[in-house]
Symmetry: C2
Subunit: 217 residues, 2 copies
Amino acid sequence: MPRGAVRVDLNISLDGYATTTDQTPENPFGHDWGRLVGAYTATRTFRARVLGDTSGAGTTGVDEAYAEAYFEEVGAEIMGAGMFGLHDHGDDPDWRGWWGENPPFHVPVFVLTHTPHPTLEMEGGTTFRFVDTDIEHALELAHEAAGGKDVRIGGGPTTVRQFLAAGLVDRLHVAIAPILLGRGIRLWDDLRGLEAGYDVVAETADSGTIHLTFRRE
Amino acid sequence: MPRGAVRVDLNISLDGYATTTDQTPENPFGHDWGRLVGAYTATRTFRARVLGDTSGAGTTGVDEAYAEAYFEEVGAEIMGAGMFGLHDHGDDPDWRGWWGENPPFHVPVFVLTHTPHPTLEMEGGTTFRFVDTDIEHALELAHEAAGGKDVRIGGGPTTVRQFLAAGLVDRLHVAIAPILLGRGIRLWDDLRGLEAGYDVVAETADSGTIHLTFRRE
């Protein structure tokens, strides 16, 4: 079976941070997270696909076009242990991640971890499988599970950077918010020369977001 | 007299580097410098104003519009000691900088340094004055010399960052080349929240360059 592409979509700040650091008990997402992903969560597609808002409300235009593309043809996803939520809850055998009982993936998800964990069948088609393996083999498993559709490397940024450094990503889309976060985990560290072998296209949205796409030539 | 604006124009990489590191004796500018500033040096304005090419050759469009704006109404410039070339030649009383006898500034230039150095009158209207003072006072001197025109903070990135952090810059234009340099001096370090108080506008050029402007609201 022909394989789908390996894709990444991330929101980063102008200074390259893909994570935020201002979470507090009172504001568990922090103020920065909303600013980082705000242009995406305002789109009609996000509102319909993630929030279940069928009213047709939400922004259109460039941000919306990328939001639509985000949901196209993904057959499996790979994420780091931190993105699933293992770092804070690894000792709890009943922990089912912080994505809720109906996570927004709706496909098989492979979680990279050295900690054994039983497979979790969630609602809506998401299955979390925990794999203690290298990224190349995890990608093999994901391609098999995707049945010819694309595989997304979901995050976090450290995991994405590993796949980028290994040359395994066919399409990287970053939505750059015009803000400076000043701290967190930077996507671009240690990726000197990444652009070689990619076509790079940038587009700006009315929201001020810069959509940058690295695509295999 | 009314004061002009305080402006910055810099070329940076996608990962935020404003300097390059691959200089060698055989290739004193390095390969990266050409890639970092290539979209600018290809413009019709750069070719005419800096190279003296009166043939009308060079790119037009978005990159050219920013190149034209670069030369508008600057009455004085401030730069760090490194940009003048003092770091390598500070002990040489005859050193006149690495900008040649007819430097491309054509206005009074204030060089921030703790090393006393006699004023240098160059050809074409450039005067280098060496000032051992804080950035606020250097800006006073530059405003006086500019006679109501704009003052440019020329560089390097460490000097620019000081002026940005102190809230002294009215307009910051960065031309972001779609390349990852991976090392050097980053413009955006320690500038968390810089966007507050600025309008931020991004525009993309056919060259792949992203032109980003922070303008005082």
